[in-house]
Symmetry: C2
Subunit: 138 residues, 2 copies
DNA sequence: CTTGACCCTCCCGTTACTGGAAGGCCTATA
DNA sequence: TATAGGCCTTCCAGTAACGGGAGGGTCAAG
């Protein structure tokens, strides 16, 4: 199977599939003309990768999950560890976004949004107060 | 004021401040020895930037907000438009993460997490079903 | 034989920085 | 005065996960 068909079947762009090969996530065969030839097992792996990525797992997480998937004797605890860590990151990100949302929606609501220059959004950003002094990395 | 003092006062790393100068967000003066010299207005702007960034505004958003901030005659509607668009992006991101969280926490709960190989997390990722076929860009 | 749809590789651009190397400047102390 | 350290400078490279596009080979149909 050529890359175009695989893209069709997995929903992944051909560019992405080539990239996954480049970083060693899949190893399709090659035709004599240089075209990639994908086996069913490659397509299956790419589907796995697409689903894992859509759940927000990083490429390195995916690499680990794929290795565990192909290891029939793995312990489910190893899989759960990766997933639980990812879940914790998601929760942290949600909390961060919720905090941003709260502040921002408050400011947006307070802003008249008309032709006048007075704007609580800018006023707040301009103020040099402790409550606004946190610049933690995201 | 030198860059180290400004970093101290704004909470921004010196590297970041240099970067902001490079992309034209601030324009500190220069001493004869080549050191950057920051005025109070520069420090103020950097504080503004730090706060806007911590609310998740992009650099380009910040550039726009800063321009509006320095334009005494701007309309608050212009500011509100930027903030509301950002709020919408935040909401979309939260919704996406909530969906991931729901699926993932379900799987994590279903996984025994012991020494046995059976793992619903991997089983689900391996399945090629319609309900798991969406790989929309984030 | 040409057209058009594939496929290939290679390189740059994205976001917002961060790390590090190589070296100049400034102050204090031995 | 020499030197140590702590600043400061520039420039280069790398990050995550691709996307865009150039330049060019391949294949099946008409």
């Amino acid at each position: 199977m050529n890359i175009g068909d695989v893209a069709q079947r997995t929903g992944l762009p051909a560019k992405t599939i080539r990239y996954y090969e480049e970083i060693g996530l899949v190893r399709p065969l090659r035709e004599t003309n240089g075209y990639r030839r994908f086996r069913e097992s490659d397509v299956h792996k790419l589907g796995f990768l697409g689903r894992a990525r859509s759940l927000g797992f990083s490429i390195e997480d995916c690499r680990g999950l794929l290795a565990l998937y192909e290891d029939a004797g793995r312990a489910s605890a190893d899989v759960k560890r990766i997933a639980a860590a990812h879940l914790a990151r998601i929760d942290a990100k949600i909390a961060e976004l919720d905090a941003m949302r709260a502040t921002l929606s408050h400011l947006v609501d307070a802003c008249a949004g008309d032709h006048r220059p007075d704007c609580p959004i800018l006023s707040d950003l301009a103020v040099d107060e402790d409550k606004a002094e946190s610049h933690e990395p995201t």
